[in-house]
Amino acid sequence: MRQNVLMSVVLGISVMAAHAQDKLVMDGSTTVGPIAKAFAETYMRQNPGVNITVSESGSGNGAKALLNGTCDIANLSRHLKESEKKAMSEKGVRPVAHVVAFDALPVIVHPSNRVKGLTLDQIRDIYTGKITNWKEVGGGDQRIVVISRDTNSGTFETFKELVLGNDSKIVASAEYTGSNGGVRQRVQMTKGAIGYAGPGFVDRSVKALEVNGVVPSAESVIAKQYPISRELFMFTNGEPAADSLAAKLLGMSRSEKGREIIEEIGYVPVPEK
């Protein structure tokens, strides 16, 4: 009798202890956000009792959260900056990058805009303010409304690196929004707008342009033809233990189901080697 009680107490404690472990905090990019949210939901469905929270406050905030230890997985749509790497090494944080998906960054305009495609140079000129009216690039007579992501964003960093070049400054009249969804919404609402947002956010309410004649798609990303493509990352502090919650979540990006999710959302899953 006593042994039974002891057993149940021990079991109870171990269950509670195990319970105490089942928490995961993810923070970071709004581009990777939909993937993170879908993974979290799928995992929580299959494993009740686990609590995974996802914040989408921007790649910069994700890196900072990993640095301060306030998240377990940081979602980033760009590489870590030098300053972030330095800060992490000073604090003893060892960031490990896991590529979760590939992403072709579409340049989007309002569907009523008759421009079908632009060259990389034209996009740069539009964003730096050299071109201000759509008629200069083959559209109608309409002022171009430039929409960009705020400086907190990995998407912005990618765009800056691949399109603008590090020297150019975005024109002062550019409007900034805090998320991919925000860019999509602005472009959808504004006839003269141009913006860039993750492919998971491009639906029929906006039109994706060809860049340098290449249509953004899974094939053109894998073939490295689309000029504005990038990797999407999830960073952890050190390599997670093989059976930990973090490892399982990261492993989903390579699993059959995870690949389907990534595709359904609109990104390009890591090709099976």
Partner: protein, 314 residues
Amino acid sequence: MLLSPGARLRRRLAELAGRGVLCGVTSVAALAVLAIIFFIAGDAVPFFKQTGASEFFLSPEWYPAHQPPRFGAAAIFAGSALVTAAAVLLAVPLGLFAALCMSDVLPFGVRQILKPVIEMLAAIPSVVYGFFALTVVAPLMQNAGSWLPGQFEIASGVNALTASLILGVMALPTIVSVSEDALQAAGRELREGSYALGATRAETLFKVVIPASVSGLFSAVLLGVMRAMGETMVVWMASGNAAQIPQPWYNLLQPVRTLTATIAGDMGEADQMTGSAHYHVLFAMGLCLLLVSFACNLAGEWIVARQRKRLRGG
């Protein structure tokens, strides 16, 4: 009930201790504001030491992520000022008329019903106003460009005008209730004296009552200004967030960026460990906001004190 000296001493001590505890707790509550100043200033000063104040206040080039970064917040200050001024310009006449109507024109019963209605207008959360501005007002504003006469090219539905309109509505209830209280405080005798001399209601209100309550009305305006200036969600969602000074400066149809929206939107980049200037500049903006609201508070208190002195006949 007489107490022994010992018991009386104990009671005195207990009372002193009680007062001390209460004072202590109250001080904690009150000193919160000092803590806020301390922390905000503490994180803002490094920016001024690192980068200096002249670029921050005078240059309109806001490129915090550029290499090298530019922290010229003049355009953002201009944006805040423009949106606040426009909101107040909209809300003050409207609010004043509404307050006049409520205090002197409407029957008492209607006024009793109206006061809670105005409080409800004030209670609606700002994010719901922002949601409304984004889903209803911005598309309307965009399409308005097509049926308004020629020169108004409204390229973007989210601009300073949209934000100012909503901010004005948000500041209205504050202005109306405080103005109405001030108008009421002028007193019946004043009004009756004026009517006895043959003045119409309009003349009484404009020539007698308003001058008598001008300090209360000024407080109302100040409170409205503070409300409009400190608002975050509406401007973040509906002002366009473009760090530019509109051309010309009074062109409300262009997107602008305010201090509050910049803080809310850019905070993610902040990296405390590397002491990045971007983190500190946001606190510098917070400090400016704090200082302006302090100034408004002080102005308000000075006006109240002056009014009190005047009433006392000093």
